[in-house]
Symmetry: D2
Subunit: 234 residues, 4 copies
């Protein structure tokens, strides 16, 4: 029965991790809604999955709330969110400006905070729900070239810990996937023609990991795991 | 065809995580060998799984090497090892003696080192293999009551990192599962009759996680993840 | 000769860590400028130290830049900054709103970013300078009650790492002091009359630590250290 | 009066960190006993400082206990210990053998455990004492080339945490200095004639840091700090 399917919302759907995750959750039996800054780009995916697309600008609380409301109205109550948002400007203190920092904090942390405030309490009321967040190596440390981006990712990881600790006992599974490596995308491959194929991180592998996290029974939940190609230096 | 099955060795098989993992790997299609200090206790499990049992004292390098050789001779080349060993004496500096420290270091770290030296190079020669290690919250920090145990677990985690970084690029998946919580065992339940059932960590959930790690394609491998009951305070 | 004294700016001067640090740096021979949201409150301290006070609202980039410019004009080029800012609203996801998160991110991270952009390049041009930042246990992890505050502190720590790694080789000493414990303040004592005196963290001890960090020769610099009363549980 | 001086024992005194620390503690007013595997090599230092030397093999509990007893008898009750021991064989899983691992665990962790059992309870009875331990970057993570060494250092750090948490409230200051960088030694310089002088870590800087840690009042103690040359990449 279609209307008993769990509803998943994937926020931040570009050609890589987000699309692979949306497909995987669809295959796993979820009704999948997808969001990106520009929902028009998701038309093909929506047609493929029979889902629903919405535009969400993660830096704008009103946009996050409107997007969630649109999904709820069109599809139903959201059981699972994959927060795959996290643009960020790379660069050093001298090359990144305050807007770049605001973008990193706004997409990775603030938008997630707004979404969590909107959805976690109602998930908890239903006694069930999940929030999986895409982190990065930069979640764990700041380097010169990630002066702004890593700050956003570190704040996101801290927020994810707070949420997991508060909402886990209420039945909401909050998890963070630390992506360590270059994601395998057509344009990334094109930019690095000499790089070995096996050195790219597989979007399908990421999606399989999200799928596994969502399958965990609540008496053995994972909060954090890392993910990298086997040849990655770390 | 039986002889094309992958062979897995689970070292440290008591009634909890080890047994659940052996059963799960059997269900996943592995031929499963099991080891504990006293192989006789594993007779029932061997009968159930049609496997092979061997006595291994992880604190004794000769015993580790003999155990591995016995499995190789009786079953064949080992593809996957789950190192679930890690006894340890709990107590403070004043109540734990040097033997207690040696036990923690010997089982968690030294036995693992001996096993890795024995098996990883030949796994790498075959281009494929896996080593999954059972860690604990004590892998991450030392507290007064874990003066000896945590030292062994911290050394084990460091060793696991070194092994993952060296042998990952050679095709061996090394992973560490940080178990955070009281494992659900009949005798644990009996000792804590008032504790809520949902507060115990599920051995089957642990085994499902090991199974997932072993299923990961090498372009998206996890090194470390945590695992806890949803109500656990952390 | 007064004009050869190094100039230090302490931002975030309340009755505790900031005041103790300003006094200590004065005793160490610095000319000390102090800043808080309301410079009028610092009149007594300015009189005591013969220094200079300026109002800085760390959440407002223009205010940070104007404050720095005012210090430069009135006192001279700034050699050392102690960033002791870091208000934040405590509470869970449900009790903290977006403004609370913005305050945590704005004071701990964004204001620091603006200040660093303004001052580090010119310190590097002079080949010498220092930036010491006040962190907290929340810099290291997020808990339910620190949903917003810890996010700001984690982003701050990441930013501090990026800055230390980039600007250390250029001669700027960036350091982070992780304050773990209740600061010893008259109003804190009054609120907790039954708490043992020795369980409070000493502002003078904090200031002595900042003084030590600033005394380190560049061939042995500390980036991060923790600080707590000896009886603190951690 | 000489006999009211605090007595410090520095264990692991070679030409670098240990000697610099012994000199600094002497200058700070301690009566200084020094220990290394071969006390004869310390004759010059003993003459210089008017101290006492003893042979201690950190891998041998009996030797640690005998060494401590000899210092107590010759000099008096020990107030402060600097554990600068930590030899270790560098190499990968294939090039390091079990003896190499035992050396890393034995010097960094087991010898320290034996010393702590011997001395911390009596320091606590006197209500005062300190134990400062020399860590390394390898204390924080395992890499292929530090397969054995990092395991020993990680176990040491965990043990140090357990000791600090247990004995801090009893008045014993336990601290860990994470040394990140190549120590400045004549033979190191000779081996790397092209390396810039400023890229070596200063033994005097290390000693100044130990001296500072020992000067901290107990209402603001540091457990862990890092130390590196300003140009070090990390």
């Amino acid at each position: 029965m279609t209307n008993t399917k769990r509803i998943a919302l994937v926020v931040g759907v570009g050609p890589g991790l987000g699309t692979a995750t949306a497909r995987r959750l669809h295959a796993d039996g979820y009704r999948v809604a997808v969001a990106s800054r520009n929902a028009e780009r998701l038309a093909g995916l929506v047609q493929e999955l029979g889902g629903f697309a919405v535009s969400i600008d993660a830096t704008d609380p009103a946009s996050v709330e409107a997007g969630v409301a649109a999904v709820e109205e069109a599809v139903g109550p959201i059981h699972t969110v994959v927060w795959n948002v996290g643009g960020g400007v790379f660069g050093t203190l001298e090359t990144v400006d305050t807007d770049g920092l605001d973008l990193a904090l706004g997409t990775n942390t603030r938008g997630l905070f707004v979404l969590a405030k909107r959805l976690l309490p109602q998930m908890a009321e239903r006694g069930d729900g999940a929030l999986v967040i895409t982190g990065a190596t930069a979640s764990l440390r700041g380097k010169p070239f990630t002066t702004a981006f890593a700050a956003g990712k570190a704040a996101q990881r801290s927020l994810a810990q707070s949420l997991a600790r508060e909402w886990g006992p209420k039945g909401i599974h909050v998890a963070l996937v630390i992506v360590d490596g270059m994601v395998d995308l057509p344009n990334t491959r094109a930019r690095m023609p000499d790089r070995a194929a096996e050195s790219f991180l597989s979007p399908d592998g990421f999606a399989a990991t999200v799928s596994f996290l969502l399958s965990q029974a609540r008496n053995a939940w994972t909060f954090e795991l890392d993910l990298r190609p086997h040849v990655e230096a770390w």
